[in-house]
Symmetry: C2
């Protein structure tokens, strides 16, 4: 069966039946709006992301199930970056009319699987045909107790700079895909099926450990730049402290220039956050319970110092490039 046979409302009904009910959802798919209730005293956190075929993904690289998972992860990651709990997802699809129903079913299954892993529920959306590429538009709503929201603008001089997981893997995976390597390597998996650090973000926020936080979608330097600009501070990063995966280190041996990917490669969806000095002991206590490693990579400085890197030879230098700009360079 294809979409033309099933029709718009047939497809929506199919999605409605597949989407489970959840707490606080008074009305999900099937009315003009979803009707939702947040926990008392919580603030509403909302973000939206567009994923466009041949800009953000290629159907020759990913299966539809994994694409559904990634559509959720990149969006939910924005709620993680505020320290919030993801709750509701809305899925907009612009679908080429010859798309097979089986492919959409796989996409939906991956979307719902990832939503379930993050404790979020699909409660609405919009579906139409696309005359061009496949279009995926996801909106996430989360919430957070009022006092716990972590913004970008709270970093202060002497705060420590931390990052979760490892850096540059996703960009390395993208490079492997672009080079025609189809092997299911660790970096390729990190690129196609990233994981949002919801649990870590929630822990940092609930314990009041992070003074500022952002998720790494544009690359370390670009995203740190957003924190510095919003907070009115500078930063000093220590090159040899950057956390790199075994796969990444192995690739570095062959081509040392790949180091740029750890600095400026996008889509790792790890959390970058700053921690006031007096909170570092408490962070160390929590770190053991985290599902992901945490690494201190530098220190916040005064704004006048800008961004500086202490390189492996002990010299201070300024970074050359920044993160990803959708209108200046090609992606995917």
């Amino acid at each position: 069966m294809n979409l033309a046979e099933l029709g718009e409302f047939g497809f929506i009904e199919r999605v409605r039946q597949a989407a489970p009910a959840g707490p606080g959802i008074q009305l999900g798919i099937g009315d003009d709006c979803a009707v939702l209730e947040l926990p008392p005293g919580h603030l509403l956190l909302t973000s939206k992301d567009l994923l466009i075929e041949d800009v953000h993904f290629r159907l020759s690289w990913t299966d539809w199930h994994t694409l559904g998972r990634k559509s959720v992860a990149v969006n939910v990651s924005d709620v993680a970056a505020m320290g919030g709990t993801p709750r509701h997802l809305f899925l907009g699809l612009g679908i080429p009319v010859d798309t097979a129903m089986a492919d959409l079913d796989h996409f939906l299954a991956g979307f719902l699987e990832a939503a379930g892993e993050y404790g979020a529920y699909l409660v609405g959306g919009d579906t139409c045909r696309s005359p061009g590429p496949l279009l995926i538009s996801v909106t996430v709503e989360g919430s957070s107790p009022k006092a716990e929201v972590v913004r970008r603008d709270g970093a202060r001089p002497d705060d420590a700079i931390y990052v979760s997981g490892t850096l540059g893997d996703s960009a390395l995976g993208l490079r492997q895909l672009l080079a025609g390597q189809r092997a299911d390597t660790f970096p390729v998996r990190r690129h196609l099926d990233p994981r949002a650090q919801v649990s870590l973000g929630r822990t940092l926020a609930a314990r009041g450990l992070a003074s500022a936080m952002i998720d790494l979608s544009d690359g370390l330097l670009g995203d740190l730049g957003h924190i510095l600009a919003a907070s009115g501070v500078g930063a000093r990063l220590v090159e040899e402290h950057l956390p790199l995966s075994p796969d990444f280190r192995e690739a570095l041996v062959v081509d040392p220039k790949l180091a740029d990917l750890a600095w400026a490669g996008g889509e790792d969806y790890e959390l970058l956050f700053t921690v006031p000095p007096e909170k570092e002991p408490l962070l160390a206590e929590q770190a053991g319970a985290c599902e992901v490693g945490l690494t201190r990579i530098g220190t916040i400085t005064g704004a006048e110092e800008g961004m500086q890197i202490l390189d492996c030879r002990g010299r201070l230098r300024r970074p050359a490039g920044r993160g990803f700009n959708h209108f200046r360079s090609g992606a995917a």
Copy 2:
């Protein structure tokens, strides 16, 4: 200047500066999520819509300012249909890279103008390049006191069926555009620059007058069909009671077949609602204060009667077609 020169973050900064601050917005554009506060005791109402070039609109028919206005209206109309108050808007744009900055500025100005008319604020979004058509993805968040939300499933036999404004004008305008008529006629204006009935929806909800409500996006028969299916009821409509504009009546004289557009033409964005018999006197009192005319077009019946039309010759008949299906027929 074009987008490639300004860059993604330059454009986002431009939007941020243009978007006014508003009540309950703790953090708007410029962090990972917008951080928002709803009035105590309110439920959250959320909807999203995709608008795709050459599916939903043609740039040869609309100016960018009007397109910005329509992007808001069609989305806010979903909140109106629940009886809610629109509050926050999120704008996702997939932009062909050769798009002129001046066009985007006009779009944004129209978007913000319409948002202001509905009392809603632009607080977030996403921007990227599109390899194909212009893509507009809008999410609206509104709210409503818990007891006042109007759903599709509350219609009961003997409830009166009402519609606001006039029917079929937008579809007639689309027909004029498709026929190459560029004149700034009333139907064309209704198609390109529709108005969401937010104030009416709010009044009906706050006074408890509507037992079920929907906005007319797919056409009268299609949208009434949604109410009937959700409520488990039937309906009898009176053909000669359908409210038609002078322009529509004039077109009917030339081509009587255009009557179909009043039954099944989409995108009028009027409200279709049902009113329990005992509430009709109260509705009549309120009607004078409404900005838009209200017309009783039929009565809810038992489910076994299905949908019936009492035509101008006094005969009962069943409707032939239904509303718009994105995967079976072409739009725009």
